[in-house]
Symmetry: C2
Subunit: 326 residues, 2 copies
DNA sequence: ACAAAAAGTGGTATCGATTTCAATTGCAGC
DNA sequence: GCTGCAATTGAAATCGATACCACTTTTTGT
């Protein structure tokens, strides 16, 4: 494969000049044309590894999520990638499966890649331990943060969204409301807090259960819960994955919603409006989350010293049949 | 950030020796320990750009799909990435949105990255023009190929799968069967072929329509089709995205399945068994597709001269309520 | 005990680009 | 026609690792 020296020779100029053509440096039009012709003739492709080594910027960011198969992360990552490529940056995607060991391993990989920055949806264990200074690159957290995170972040207003769902259920006449949350992320914790507060304010009990963030775990938990004598009239489910599990559970138990139990949740996945009269959910602004995270990362790179910034986005309550009054 | 020279100095050895520790070269245990201690002390991270430049292997592959939000590609890409990381390789993911310009651009990028190889789901335009010789790396096509593709490939037996669906519908008593296919990929073409052959064999007409591969286009087309007087009794839909569109169309037209129209399709997405008595579909072995593609790429890299190989995987017919006899 | 082979280590060139600095060219002003 | 300044261009150093070769030390076989 042709290298810069070959192009230079073919065009009768020095490698420096070819490099300047590549990087839009000061080159006369005549020479530029000649060099570009030579590049085309030789089918030249600049070697990005060499370029990155010499120039010391990789134009690459890392995107670390728990599982790209979770439609929330799929959508966010697509938005991140679009925005990244639009700014001439490459993305390295990593799936941690909520496994702290993998998180650590991928953070290390990001250092070896000398990425410019990282967008990260950390587990509860990881969120506290992030030290941008030690890492050597800025981090923008998404989806999950805790109070004393020291990085930029883009998150949903989880408390409010959960409270909104509870408020809606109360308004519809439900009083006995249960909540199902993921046990690995701060998102679950936050949503639980909003859930509890809202019910407490109404002087109602707030029975909650926490499960591993998988369809199966949720299905299991809901099946069991609804078989108990004091089963809730309504169920609030903390994310799309768990919601799917809950739906499966209701279906296999032969329960209908909202007649047997009302069902509301998070994440407006494609199937939520196809089931019966639809599921009431809070929709997350997935594109905006991804785009904003990428934008914030770029801003932080331009202005390393600016103060920490947390963007809180609002969800959108989508009311459908699953929360109609019983 | 510490470099190899710093580690060498700290450990009192030469850079060569540090490099050998890094690459599991021949080093005495005593020295290895000392070097590893120095690495830990300095928090050393090898610079991958430098390593790639010098060693001339990037341990990186490209994965080019049309849209990661299509659950089929999400699942495949997750499988590819797992298999890649398991083999110490990195993955660069690109979304082409079925746009040939983007395809060309990303192939160019792959050359600049000097990737070891590429796994690629090309559009119909691109599939013919792939020349591994010119690209400089081997390509494994997935999902979509045409007869004279000159690369390794992993595909579903699309003809047979479509024929299987048709056979099932015939067995259930349906005679007037319509097919809806995507118009950008060879997958659509192949599935259409299987569909046509199967119906022709039964001496039946094979009315087919082709649409852009989007939910909206499918919804539109199905709405229109079912409003016509000679509407089909059963609909075969060529992939999960179009199937979602079809379901939306039926729902908004107030039609039930299979009573008003039977519905069968491809891709066993999470929601297909949640709707009424479920949708009858052919499930693609998504994990196997991804894993196999990655494996084939690795094999090809080990043995560049071996003959072209196309792995054809079988789908699994999942019969559900949407194809019950009317 | 000695020769031969193997193992371990260091020095230096090199991967392919960009960067820095110095040299050259072109052009305006006088 | 000459001087001075800006615009181009080239030469050489450099990014941080690995590869290759040469050299020393240890091990093995007889």
């Amino acid at each position: 494969m042709a290298k810069i020296k070959d192009v230079a020779a073919a065009a009768g100029v020095s490698p420096s000049t070819v490099s300047r053509v590549l990087c839009n440096g000061p080159v006369s039009d005549k020479v530029r044309k000649r060099v570009e012709a030579a590049m085309a003739r030789l089918d030249y492709r600049p070697n990005l590894a060499a370029r990155r080594l010499r120039s010391q910027h990789t134009d690459t960011i890392g995107l670390i999520v728990s599982d790209i198969r979770n439609p929330f992360f799929t959508a966010v990552s697509r938005a991140v990638e679009d925005e990244a490529y639009r700014n001439g940056m490459r993305v390295i995607l990593c799936n941690t499966d909520e496994n702290p060991d993998k998180e650590a391993m991928y953070l290390r990989l990001m250092q070896e890649e000398r990425v410019t920055g990282v967008i990260f949806a950390p587990t509860r264990q990881a969120v506290a331990g992030i030290d941008q200074q030690a890492l050597g690159f800025p981090v923008v957290m998404i989806d999950r943060i805790n109070a004393d995170a020291a990085t930029d972040a883009v998150v949903l207003d989880n408390r409010r969204a959960a409270a909104q769902l509870v408020g809606h259920l109360l308004q519809q006449g439900y009083r006995h409301i249960g909540g199902l949350f993921g046990n690995t992320s701060n998102t679950g914790t936050e949503r639980h807090a909003g859930f509890s507060e809202a019910l407490q304010q109404a002087s109602l009990a707030a029975p909650a259960r926490f499960v591993a963030p998988s369809v199966e775990a949720a299905e299991q938990a809901v099946l069991q819960w609804l078989a108990e004598p004091a089963r809730p009239q309504a169920l609030l489910v903390s994310n799309g994955v768990l919601l799917l599990g809950a739906v499966r559970a209701l279906k296999s138990a032969g329960l209908r919603w909202p007649q047997d139990v009302a069902l509301v949740g998070f994440d407006n996945e494609v199937w939520t409006d196809l089931l019966g009269d639809g599921l009431t959910v809070v929709e997350q602004p997935v594109n905006e989350i991804g785009r904003t995270a990428m934008t914030m990362l770029l801003e932080r790179l331009n202005e390393p010293e600016r103060s920490q910034r947390i963007v809180v986005l609002q969800g959108r309550l989508v009311v459908r049949g699953s929360s109609l009054p019983q």
